[in-house]
């Protein structure tokens, strides 16, 4: 089975992030607190509670080199937490938002982080040595609605965002004194902070979950209309592909390799997408187990969780079939919408073979791709 560990931490998990050595996980149990768990002898053990926010924590990111945690919340604030001895000490970052902060991510060099907000803005924050203070620079008047997700390009300059106005945008976040010109790629070398490089208008409804591929050549994001979009050659003439899903929409994506993407969302079961030799992206299969009797494969492939039950009840099956089918449908690792997917990175490896998902069912599930024989043809190429 692809799911190697399932643990229920809370009623609902809004987001989670892993410590640099992956021995600890920070998660928000749908409250104003962030709980840090450590894998003990047998069980997960709660080792820290980060209490500073007043409302639900909507984003957590744990930097892998500097071991700092950044959290953002619906209370419109952000904190950077530093470990001093056994304590986590928060530093307030003034974002000056008038709406909730929704998502956060450290830049690859970990000298900046980006916060997407319901105020139609993106805040890019960086550390000012002289004042011992995190400063926020705001990208204003570019988004027409809430910013649902942010993703850093590996070059530490470009930032991709998705918004509930249905668009995906890429900005330059060049900050004088923080970034050096030669670090930027030739295409972005000229751009100033907040300059929009591209606007992708592929989705007709809310867009979520944007990520760059490890090389930064491909961008993937999802739409609430059950579509996933792949964009190559992000620049003046991008090459876009849309893949329509058979099933419920996705919420978040993760590149596990340059040409393999895992999507998670309302179907409660991670989906694998891969690009073939010609660069055409397509849906490969669900990652979770799905034992379905051959008589209803047609229904089974689209059913899951609560929605599946509802649908199955209203559909005429043969007598006696229903109960066994329903119980089999419930073997899914997740029983509700998956809202967050995080890689478990191995040092010095671009590809990811393990990752974790969390969602509205309060479960944290660890997945391993290594023993997935049918995926090995894609995986061999890249691991």
């Amino acid at each position: 089975m692809a799911a190697i560990s399932i643990h229920r931490f809370a009623q609902c998990i809004t987001c989670h992030a892993w410590s640099p050595d992956q021995s600890m996980v920070a998660l928000c149990p749908n409250s104003s607190e962030v709980h840090i768990y450590k894998m003990g002898e047998e069980e997960w053990e709660r080792v820290h509670i980060l209490q500073k926010h007043d409302q639900i924590v909507s984003g957590i990111d744990w930097s892998s080199m500097s071991n700092r945690i950044v959290t953002v919340s619906h209370d419109r604030n952000s904190y950077v937490w530093n470990q001093e001895g056994t304590e986590w000490v928060p530093t307030l970052v003034i974002l000056r938002l008038n709406r909730a902060a929704l998502c956060v991510q450290w830049s690859p060099k970990e000298n900046k982080f980006a916060v997407g907000s319901g105020a139609k803005t993106v805040c890019v924050c960086y550390y000012e040595q002289d004042n011992n203070w995190w400063v926020s620079k705001v990208i204003r008047k570019k988004h027409e609605s809430s910013v649902t997700s942010v993703a850093w390009h590996p070059n530490n300059i470009l930032l991709a965002t998705t918004s509930t106005d249905g668009k995906c945008r890429v900005f330059s976040t060049f900050i004088k004194g923080v970034d050096s010109r030669d670090a930027a790629q030739p295409s972005s070398a000229e751009s100033r902070f907040g300059e929009q490089i591209i606007q992708l208008d592929l989705s007709t409804s809310w867009a979520f979950g944007v990520r760059w591929s490890p090389s930064g050549n491909t961008l993937a994001y999802v739409g609430h209309n059950s579509m996933i979009y792949f964009v190559d050659e992000v620049g003046p003439s991008p090459l876009a592909q849309s893949v329509a899903l058979r099933d419920l929409p996705l919420r978040d994506v993760l590149f596990v390799a340059e040409r393999i993407v895992i999507g998670v969302g309302y179907d409660c079961n991670p989906m694998v997408f891969a690009a073939d030799d010609t660069g055409i992206w397509s849906f490969v299969r669900f990652l979770g187990e799905r034992k379905i009797t051959s008589s209803n494969t047609k229904y089974g492939s689209q059913l899951s969780g609560a929605f599946g039950k509802l649908y199955a009840q209203s559909t005429k099956y043969g007598p006696g079939n229903d109960i066994s089918d329903l119980s089999k449908l419930n073997v899914n690792a997740h029983t509700n919408c998956i809202s967050c997917i995080q890689p478990l990175k191995e040092q010095g490896k671009a590809a990811v073979s393990q990752f974790s998902t969390s969602g509205m069912d309060g479960r944290l599930v660890l997945w391993d791709l290594e023993n997935q024989l049918d995926l090995s043809e894609y995986i061999c190429l890249f691991f």
């Binding site: 007709t204 409804s205 739409g223 209309n225 059950s226 058979r246 099933d247 929409p249």
Partner: protein, 132 residues
């Protein structure tokens, strides 16, 4: 000025829909309901915000839709590229509240969901830009 352009555009679209309508009638006479439905769905939804055009196109689609007797047979010759647009028109049909139309739409809806999945329904419901 913009209104004039829109009006011109609308006239052109209406003319095209009329042409489509004639083609559909001749296909129906030769008892090719699936071909008629394909013709009706082609170029839909009309790329305009003009409600007259949308209604005119719906009438044409409705005409072809109601002639479908063998739903399974229809799907065996209807390509998946038509699924999303067909789903949108099924919901338009259901919104009319007209009994025979709703019966027909529900019958097709069941089979279409089986084939195209819930994603198809979501694309039909979530699209607020290209309404039919």
């Amino acid at each position: 000025m913009a209104e004039f352009v829109d009006a011109d555009n609308a006239e052109a679209i209406i003319a095209r829909i009329e042409h489509k309508s004639q083609k559909i009638e001749s296909l129906l006479k030769r008892s090719k309901p699936v071909e008629a439905l394909k013709t009706a769905l082609e170029g839909s939804p009309p790329n305009t915000r003009d409600e007259r055009c949308k209604s005119a196109n719906w009438i044409v689609v409705h005409r072809a839709l109601m002639t479908i007797k063998d739903v399974d047979g229809m799907f065996s010759s209807l390509d998946p590229e038509y699924y999303d647009i067909l789903m949108k028109y099924l919901y338009r049909g259901l919104s009319t509240g007209d009994r025979p139309t709703c019966d027909q739409c529900l019958r097709i809806h069941e089979k279409l969901t089986e084939r195209a999945g819930l994603g198809c329904i979501l694309r039909a419901l979530a699209d607020t830009t290209n309404t039919v």
